[in-house]
Symmetry: C4
Subunit: 195 residues, 4 copies
């Protein structure tokens, strides 16, 4: 029974991840005006926001599986925190659309960074709840793995604070940092103990 | 063969739950006007409607699995009532969008509450059909569990009537009640005999 | 290996059914104007189109599983015809939106009926290809079941021709017939040899 | 553990394929104006783009499974390249919408062909990475199968370059070639060693 609950929670979360990632494409608007080619090239902000959000959701999907792999059972609180977590993930297409249309406005990138930060925070709460006193952790998972995962996840918090801080001074800079974290830094860290 | 039917019905329903929840984000409109930051803050009604609907779908997803866990087989009537049930769940993104754009209008919140009430009613029909004379219930499920589930589900009916009644006098109040039920009350009741 | 192919084809098709059904809700437009309540009531055509299309996709989902249950293996042609079939199913949200906005125009309901007819035709091709000389049928399936399925599926062709014919004279009448077929007639026929 | 990773990657990718294919229908716009029937007939470009993209995604879905069938394990690089691959697949609904609205403009069809070419390139990188020195290939897969798959996939690159070249001179011609490749040529080649 316990394993069934875990399996369902995983299936529901996976569904939300895949759908949210695929809905990102609806943030693109077909350019109007005489020169279609130039209009398509000037969608730069939309392309940047799309790639950043898609990779972010992809990484969080991998991290979510890392968590689920260590867990032996789920309880009511875990189920509820996970629901709040996927609620935030499913919200990502909206700030992505905002950035796509207003890349050079501070409010857009601050909201984008804030959403990713909120997602990272809820994800850390989910993990910390699960591994406090090894509450939900399977017996076969060594303590060293738990510590390594905790550290890898924690890194996301200061990084996303940095995105928001930078966005206050230069929105474009903040978005480029968000993209760089997703494309270059996090893949290495988060996948470390899988292969 | 029977178990396959049950499994498919579950997979189809789960798919609709996850997609309907993730489509809710399309209810947000990027604000136009000079001040983007203030525009994003004034989306308050949209955030409230999004969170309420997402958690409502999340809870109904959990409840649906509680039902499926007690069921040994499905028949034609159950299949048809379930189809009507997911039809109502898949409709939720529309009243959510209506509330997001017209939080202070009576018709919007009454329609929202009416949709959730209709979903709750169809869900109760589904359950009552299944457990009348233990028609579709597995032999290993004790009568006490059935009674507990019946009571937990029934509570949703008067609660959602209250939302509609309150919305007639104060639309915002009705919506805040809908949110509170979803966020504070129902999680405790409905998950009682799982964890 | 064969069973894996069959399983994947089923999963892909099921995904398209669930997503297409859930996307139907995007056909609703929040009414503008002074009186929201009256605007919501005047969405009648949209509600009719939504319910008809949702139940149609639900029934075709059940029928598709009836087919897959009798099949022992899939080949290249079956895979391709099935791809064309889900292509037509995934198209249904568009004629649904057209009917929702133009219920009283002949072209709208003729196109709607034509899409459902096309889907029924391709589905019959899929089934006839599979059961010709029991090409892909499992050894344990009796001939009588095959005949019963063939007859049940075939009925959809003249019924949908009738919808188109009626729509030429009275679009509303055609749509009400389409709804009635889906809600009252087909569930009985198609589920006959399951339950 | 390795098999679980492979299975998840497959499930996530399958989800994106099914959702991206089903989202294509959102590219259709209900025609405005007096004559609805003529408006619906003049959506020709949208129908052509829809069918081409749907079949393209269907074929790539089959090809992706062909790859996954030969693979014994996945590593970090494979996971990342696959993420980039589904990112490009999930983008297809946008160029499809662009072509649907601007079939006769060079920029539209060049962008469309460019997206399919990019998808084909990333897919070839994914495969070449996996089969270089049989890095991730299962022991039971014969070398002859690997060579056959490599050749079948490679064909997509020059074919899609041809689409782009033709589109520069005649956008409509380029799109008809893209459709023809998808409908007539590729199904034969890519399914060769399945059936």
């Amino acid at each position: 029974v316990e394993n069934t609950s875990r399996h369902r929670l995983e299936t529901f979360s996976d569904g939300v991840f895949a759908i949210a990632a695929t809905l990102l494409v609806l943030g693109f608007t077909v350019p109007s005006g005489n020169d279609l080619g130039s209009g398509l090239l000037h969608l730069g902000p939309a392309y940047l926001a799309y790639v950043t959000s898609f990779l972010t959701i992809g990484i969080i999907w991998i991290n979510h599986h890392t968590v689920m792999d260590t867990i032996a059972r789920v309880d009511r609180t875990f189920l509820f925190v996970n629901m709040v977590f996927v609620l935030v993930v499913a919200f990502i297409p909206f700030p992505t659309r905002v950035v796509a249309e207003h890349l050079h406005e501070r409010a857009a990138v601050v909201m984008y960074g804030g959403t990713i930060l909120l997602m990272t925070l809820v994800f850390n709460v989910l993990w910390i709840y699960a591994c406090k006193d090894r509450r939900l952790i399977g017996a076969s998972v060594p303590d060293s793995s738990i510590r390594a995962i905790t550290q890898a996840f924690y890194v996301g918090i200061p990084l996303n604070c940095l995105v928001i801080l930078l966005a206050i001074f230069t929105p474009l800079g903040g978005m480029i940092l968000a993209f760089s974290i997703t494309a270059f830094y996090l893949p290495g860290v988060t996948l470390l103990d899988r292969s």
